[in-house]
């Protein structure tokens, strides 16, 4: 088990290097000039040139890449080209709000999705099954900005139950919890559909297997048969799906964070790219990559916990 984890960790290193290289090249080829952004629209050409020189953008790309690698080797992510704020502190400030949002969205949507999928499988072909599947198709099809705006319209504006701008504090404070509600509700809603559909098909597969028939033959209650013998074995593909969906959630977080003015990584990445802030953009790309690698690692570990055969 430990060696498998170590093996995965070692394999992550070249992936991370590839992402760093890709991130550097990407921001180089994207059109845009941070010096123009800093100088503003009324600046003369000589002022822009002076600012460009100060930022080191007048250096050849290879020189910039070498300096970038040197910084990365010692864990120095540099400073924002626009604000001069340390990239590490920018990322640190944005990381937790995004994690909070993702956990907040998964903590309700995964159980709901699994429960809906299981119920649909158990009552397969019934009206409830069809209703759940229709709902999950709607969840997959509706764009997140639409769900977010509807949530704001009804829960924020019409009934005025939840706030919908900013993050006044962490989730465990009253204000923070209320502010997290709508973004987490909106973001989580995109996860329900895929989880419910995958759970349904997986549970249906498992319920046909011999060990389930044996469990029933032993006289176990139907609930126990479904939950202990059916659902547990059906969860492996669901866990994989959730791992993959984390990436989708990060993408959704970019939109959700913008609509709800949530100060997370998604907004940081968009803001950095929009202002050609190369160092911050590279930092967020690296954090996203690390996030994917970590989630995949966790999925692998969960796999082996759920299915002992994987450990062998």
């Amino acid at each position: 088990m430990i060696s498998a984890v170590l093996h995965r960790l070692v394999l992550s290193v070249p992936v991370l290097f590839g992402v760093l290289l890709f991130g550097f090249l990407l921001v180089q080829i994207v059109p845009g000039d941070p010096a123009m952004v800093v100088a503003g629209p009324t600046a003369t050409a000589d002022v822009v040139a002076a600012i460009r020189e100060e930022m080191g953008l007048d250096q050849p790309v290879l020189v910039q890449f070498w300096s970038y690698l040197q910084r990365m080797a010692v864990g120095d992510l540099g400073r924002s080209m626009i604000s001069n704020k340390s990239v590490t502190s920018e990322l640190g400030a944005a990381l937790w709000p995004t994690l909070e949002l993702m956990i907040g969205s998964m903590v309700w949507s995964v159980p709901v999705g699994v429960a809906m999928g299981t119920l649909a499988a158990v009552v397969r072909g019934s009206l409830i099954d069809r209703a759940i599947m229709a709902l999950s198709v709607a969840g997959v099809s509706l764009p997140i900005f639409f769900i977010s705006l509807m949530a704001i319209q009804f829960l924020g504006v019409k009934w005025q139950i939840f706030p919908f701008i900013g993050r006044p504090g962490p989730w465990y404070t009253a204000e923070g919890f209320m502010a997290l509600f709508l973004p987490a509700l909106s973001l989580g809603s995109i996860l329900i559909g895929p989880v419910a559909r995958m759970t349904r098909s997986s549970v249906l597969e498992v319920l046909k297997l011999d060990h389930v028939r044996t469990a029933r033959a032993k006289g176990l209650s139907e609930t126990r048969v479904i939950l202990a013998h059916g659902l547990r074995n059906a969860l492996i593909p669901v866990v994989t799906l959730i791992g993959l969906q984390v990436g989708y959630l990060l993408g959704g977080a970019v939109v959700t964070e913008t609509i709800f003015s949530w100060p997370g990584l998604g907004r940081l990445a968009v803001g950095a790219i929009m202002s050609s802030d190369f160092t911050v953009a590279q930092g967020t790309i690296m954090i996203f990559a690390l996030g994917f690698i970590t989630v995949n690692l966790i999925v692998d570990i969960l796999y082996s916990l759920l299915d002992p055969r994987v450990r062998k």
Partner: protein
């Protein structure tokens, strides 16, 4: 009426919150659309930077809401030498920074010298004029010497770039000044900045030296101000409606009618507009090189319809390059402004040799009139498309290339287009003309390639005039010249509009650099 379960849940949660949270007294949330790159006065040209800097610090002189009257601020009085080369400012001796340290003339001289220091790389250094020296001979006197007169010096010194900051704090923070901290003499003090999220400032309790045009010269009534960034336009409107924000100058045009109809929101609108949106012509390009073509394009576009249909009647259709309310605007210009007349536009194009071909497009010497306009995405793209539709009616097929702002600024410094879009704030006609029409400012911000020695001479004469009459006369000539040559297609003047909660007392909006709340001293809760 029985509350619904949802409402009951809401009341329950609200009650829980009310118990859990302390009562927030005199705290104000201002909603805005975007952040600044940082808040270091001479280095940021962002409107969103000026909004914060005006509240955190003071300039030596202030500007009244009429955008014409210069008021004492950190300087209680000043003398100008007969040759207009030396300004001697008497600095107040009762002013202190947020950390309690007294402010002296030395701080003023140091801050202004830092603005002009080439090491600072201020993009707006030119606004200071041709400085010879800035010195502080004693604790309450600053002498500002120029090599050549600068007729608008006091107006430029009233802008946020000339804000006075504490030297010691700057030396401690270095480039982190305006990033991790700030120490100024303004009505509010820096508490924190979370980029792309919010700026929080608290009241400067000792403040009592606000501009004379304010009824309350300090301290501010509001104890804490949070500038919350809400990037989504519709969310900004509903945030104000639902009381999640108290005030916002960043309401989309479509939202104002809703706000006016709401019982809990007031909207103020300034009488004059000091922000003009226009499309410029790259006059060195063949397609728009002929003044008749440019005049025809001006005549073919219906600014009034655009103001009504695109901007919901919230803006003033523009035919001049600066608002008629601006200092040194020449009213005689009004008679010669180009207003919507598509028939005259068609006649001018015929006269210029651009005749309609069988496809209904203008053609000359085998070349079709298809000028390329570069544009921002979003609102500007819609504006460009409206212009495109009007021009098509006279046979001009405008091509539009929309792009993101980061790409746009670089592209607009090239010669790869015939037209471009721009919106800009100004404090006077001279401010606008000196920036955009000097030949030395080609390729940016003079993106038209307008290179006219007489304009340059007149602009120098205006900026070096030693009296207001000469200054106004010189700028009037430039205004006539550039309008006669139709180097821009003005679209609209944008007045400052602010939506605010009825919990706040009515106030007057300012227009300085788009910072409608200026020092924030007028913000008062009525409850």
């Amino acid at each position: 009426m029985t509350p619904t379960p949802i409402k009951r849940a809401g009341f329950g949660l609200a009650a829980a919150m009310a118990l859990a949270l302390p009562v927030a007294a005199q705290e104000l949330t201002i909603i805005r659309a975007q952040d600044s790159n940082h808040y270091d006065p001479p280095r940021t040209t962002a409107q969103s930077g000026a909004e914060i800097i005006f509240m955190l610090s003071d300039t030596i002189v202030g500007l009244a809401e009429d955008m014409k009257t210069i008021e004492p601020l950190l300087a209680s009085s000043w003398d100008v030498s007969d040759d207009a080369l030396t300004y001697t400012f008497k600095i107040r001796d009762d002013v202190s920074f947020c950390d309690g340290k007294p402010m002296t003339a030395e701080d003023v001289a140091w801050s202004l010298n830092r603005w002009q220091d080439p090491e600072t790389k201020s993009p707006v250094r030119w606004r200071m004029g041709d400085v010879k020296s800035i010195t502080a001979p004693d604790a309450t006197t600053v002498v500002y010497e120029l090599n050549a007169p600068h007729s608008e010096l006091l107006y430029q010194l009233a802008q946020s770039f000339g804000s006075i900051i504490d030297k010691d704090t700057y030396e401690t923070l270095g480039k982190d000044f305006g990033v991790t901290g700030f120490n100024g003499t303004g009505p509010f003090c820096w508490e924190s900045w979370t980029p792309r999220d919010k700026v929080v400032m608290t009241r400067h309790d000792g403040y009592n030296w606000g501009p004379a045009n304010y009824e309350n010269r300090g301290p501010a009534q509001v104890e804490k101000v949070t500038w919350q960034i809400v990037p989504e336009a519709a969310t900004r409107t509903v945030a104000l409606l639902t009381g999640q924000g108290d005030i916002s100058p960043y309401i989309p045009f479509i939202g104002y009618s809703t706000l006016r109809a709401a019982p809990n929101i007031n909207v103020i609108k300034s009488e004059s507009a000091f922000w003009t949106n226009y499309m410029g012509f790259k006059i060195t390009k063949d397609l728009v090189g002929d003044v008749k073509v440019r005049q025809a394009i001006n005549l073919a576009v219906n600014q009034e319809a655009m103001a009504e249909d695109l901007f919901f009647g919230e803006v003033e259709p523009a035919y001049s390059y600066v608002s008629s309310g601006a200092l040194d605007y020449d009213a005689t210009l009004n008679d010669s402004l180009l207003k919507y007349d598509p028939e005259k536009a068609a006649a001018l194009l015929d006269e210029a040799g651009w005749v309609l071909n069988s496809d209904g497009k203008r053609e000359k010497d085998g070349k079709v009139m298809e000028p390329l306009a570069i544009s921002f995405t979003g609102e500007w793209q819609q504006t460009s498309e409206a212009v495109q539709a009007d021009l098509l009616k006279v046979g001009i097929e405008l091509q539009i290339e929309p792009m993101d702002s980061t790409v746009y600024w670089g592209k607009s410094a090239t010669d790869e287009f015939e037209m471009y879009v721009m919106g800009y704030p100004y404090i006077s006609a001279g401010d606008a003309l000196n920036l955009y029409f000097r030949s030395a400012n080609i390729p940016t911000p003079n993106r038209m390639n307008w290179n006219d020695p007489e304009t340059d001479e007149l602009l120098v004469a205006g900026s070096q005039a030693t009296n207001e009459t000469d200054r106004a006369a010189a700028y009037a000539k430039v205004l006539h010249k550039v309008h006669d040559n139709a180097v821009w297609l003005p679209i609209y003047h944008r007045p400052m509009q602010i939506g605010y909660s009825t919990k706040l007392a009515p106030f007057e909006a300012h227009n300085i650099y788009g910072a409608g709340l200026y020092k924030g001293l007028q913000l008062t809760f009525t409850e």
